[in-house]
Amino acid sequence: MSLPDVLITILKVLVIVLAAPLLALVLVYVERKTLGRIQRRMGPWHVGPMGLLQTLADAVKLLTKEVLTPERAEPWAYWIAPIVVFVPGIFVLVVIPFTPELVVSRLDLSLLYVFALPAVSVVGFIMAGWGSGSKYALLGGIRLVAQAVSYEIPLLFSVLGVAILAGSLSLIDIVNAQGDTVWYGVVQPVAFVIFIMAGLAEHSRTPFDMAVGESEVMGGPTIEYSGIRWAMFMLAEYVNIFILASLGTIIFLGGWHGPVLPGWVWYLLKTTPILLFVFWLRGTLPRLRVDQLMGFCWKVLIPLSLLNVVVAATFKVYGWGPTVPMVIASLLAAYWFYRREWLRVVAVPARDPVPVPVPAPAAAE
């Protein structure tokens, strides 16, 4: 590697590091506007044109706020946790191919890399939960770790099929493979749905946000954080959502491929609907309970994602012929699982209405 190459790489990394907060600012703005729209509110509108600078103002406020450390905190864990949570997101951004040219590092094992690194941030959350010295933070941390670890399995299985189809673990190769044939989202629709669901659960988003649910654990592991450190959790969350949408685009929707328009436009056109859908979910769905969430993962998502791997292998070996029935079969299986296991309602035998007690004349007053 010559010196200019090194310099260019450093420059690219710097751009990514600076772009991540900017990205989060934009996403927070979009989310607030979307929620406002759903709820017939305005959303941010006061700072800057159409409120565009509102999140920037919030960021400035957070930066200037006092950083508090609770008396009972474990200082080291408490201090490091935001960094451990935030940094993997930036690391992942490095290998995401936005267009064939716009990628910092062309890692051959990037598919493995983008799922291995965020697992580190789970450690950050348990550090935050434990280190805060707060019971709510601990509860949230436990919940988050439980769900993040469980949901990693269907998440990985769902992209395993794609890796089989593409025959590569490089994100760039995966996108290129889709350019030749058809989007993997078409071949593997169940995998795509599982990917989005498991991704939402992994990053603790609605409707799987019981780890940070305000009405139960009041923000979970981040409850005691303030100022810049809290902002880092926030940044990490939105960077992760963006990464989720990006990976969905790259793995299942053919990345930058598309007719006429340049690659980055197609990329945005495919990423934005996923992001909006994620925000839309937040305004539409209640939260699941912890046991429902875990049951959903182990009883529905994992069997389905395994089945999906089989579908992918069939396609790889035998081509379209047997795959179409397999896709249909996997959709049917998904429906069956949904009927059988998903959100099972506890049955309480209904009683007949109790006859109304006749009011005594005195009671009638």
Binding site: Y136, P286, R351, A364
Partner: protein, 374 residues
């Protein structure tokens, strides 16, 4: 697990003690629940109230009958008109004041509007506790519509001081009938939207169906009244059983549930809003012209004696007990607040539930701490 909340340290115990509240967002005010939890399961719960205690009953002993609604408004601030109605009914028994027809109709319309506003608030709070903020805002559009009418009629949005001895304080504005008729379809539409957002949502159903079912016997033993009691299948509505004011003139159903779980309690409120809309429609039809306030004695000293009124507030059975002793101010004013009883029922209801469910059960009883603490 009786010792779980005995106050000793949980350092070496099998459980963890959690203070839910008084600043917790889903304790609906400033209630504090001392939970002993084993992981996610609540072993025992001890509700602590008093953070909003203002001594409403004691203050009421120093107020004249004209001033009385001012302070009782502050007890149950979400359905102030219903509380006013109860207070004034008790006072009218004491003073033996007759209320003109028009006054009664205005009272019923306002009280039922307030019932809808209160249930909309319940809807929003339960939805928010279930995990997302949209129901809150959905409920509040409808609440705002009603509050706008309230402001036109009474001059205030929440604390009205409108229903007064012998009728109501001011006649309704001339366009009252039109403006209420105009909002009724909007409220019905808003109610449909609320239904659409939450009622059938599978996640919400899975969260609430079969959660914390109650039998009528258990509910009565715990002193639960109102929609939460009717959810168990017992059609005990004072508007029907012991009709006060002119509620015996209207046609309305008393919705009852089947199993008394959280979803039933939720449905009771939403179904009741429909019935309230029906009552308001009928009352608007039948509202006569004429006096809105009857003759009231010039000297407003409390007669010697006592009076008790029980009314169906949106939360349950509201009892107001006034003892007069010939002075300007009452000897004793006692409020039997449904929310207070419901808070005390939490100790049994929350045992053995998940933390996430505890929040929903708490919300499903529709507790207003202003009323519980008084």
């Amino acid at each position: 697990m009786a010792e779980a909340t005995s106050g000793r340290s949980d350092q070496n115990a099998e459980f963890m003690e959690i203070n839910m509240g008084p600043q917790h967002p889903s304790t609906h005010g400033v209630c504090r629940l001392e939970l002993a939890v084993d992981g996610e399961v609540v072993l025992s719960c001890r509700p602590e109230i008093g953070y909003l205690h203002r001594g409403v009953e004691k203050i009421a002993e120093n107020l004249t009958v004209i001033q009385l609604p001012v302070i009782t408004d502050r007890a149950d601030y979400l359905s102030a008109l219903n509380t006013e109605l109860g207070v004034v009914l008790a006072a009218e028994q004491l003073y033996e004041v007759a209320v003109p027809e028009r006054g009664e109709y205005i009272r019923v319309i306002m009280a039922e509007l307030n019932r809808i506003a209160n249930h909309m608030m319940f809807y929003g709070a339960l939805g928010t506790d279930a995990g997302f903020s949209s129901p809150f805002i959905f409920g509040w559009w409808n609440r705002e519509i009603i509050h706008d009418v309230f402001e036109e009629v009474t001059g205030a949005r929440m604390l009205h001081n409108y229903i007064a001895l012998g009728g109501v304080k001011q006649d309704v504005p001339p366009n009252f009938k039109d403006s209420v008729k105009k909002i009724l379809p909007r409220l019905a539409d808003g109610l449909d939207r609320c239904h659409g957002l939450l009622t059938d949502n599978e996640i919400f159903v899975a969260r609430t169906k079969g959660l914390n079912p109650l039998t009528p016997e258990e509910a009565l033993r715990l002193g639960i009244t109102g929609p939460s009691l009717r959810a168990t299948g017992l059609a005990r509505d004072l508007r029907r059983l012991a009709p006060y004011s002119i509620y015996d003139r209207f046609e309305f159903e008393v919705p009852v549930g089947t199993v008394g779980d959280v979803h039933d309690r939720y449905m009771m409120r939403l179904l009741e809003m429909r019935e309230s809309l029906r009552i308001i429609e009928q009352a608007l039809e039948g509202m006569p012209d004429g006096e809105y306030r009857g003759e009231i004695p010039r000297r407003l000293r409390y007669p010697v004696g006592e009076a008790y009124s029980r009314t169906e507030s949106p939360r349950g059975e509201l009892g107001i007990y006034i003892v007069g002793n010939g002075q300007n101010t009452a000897h004793r004013v006692k409020i039997r607040a449904p929310a207070f009883v419901h808070v005390s029922a939490m100790e049994e209801l929350l045992k053995g539930t998940y933390i996430a469910d505890a929040v929903l059960i708490f919300a499903s009883m529709d507790i207003v701490l202003g009323e519980a603490d008084r």
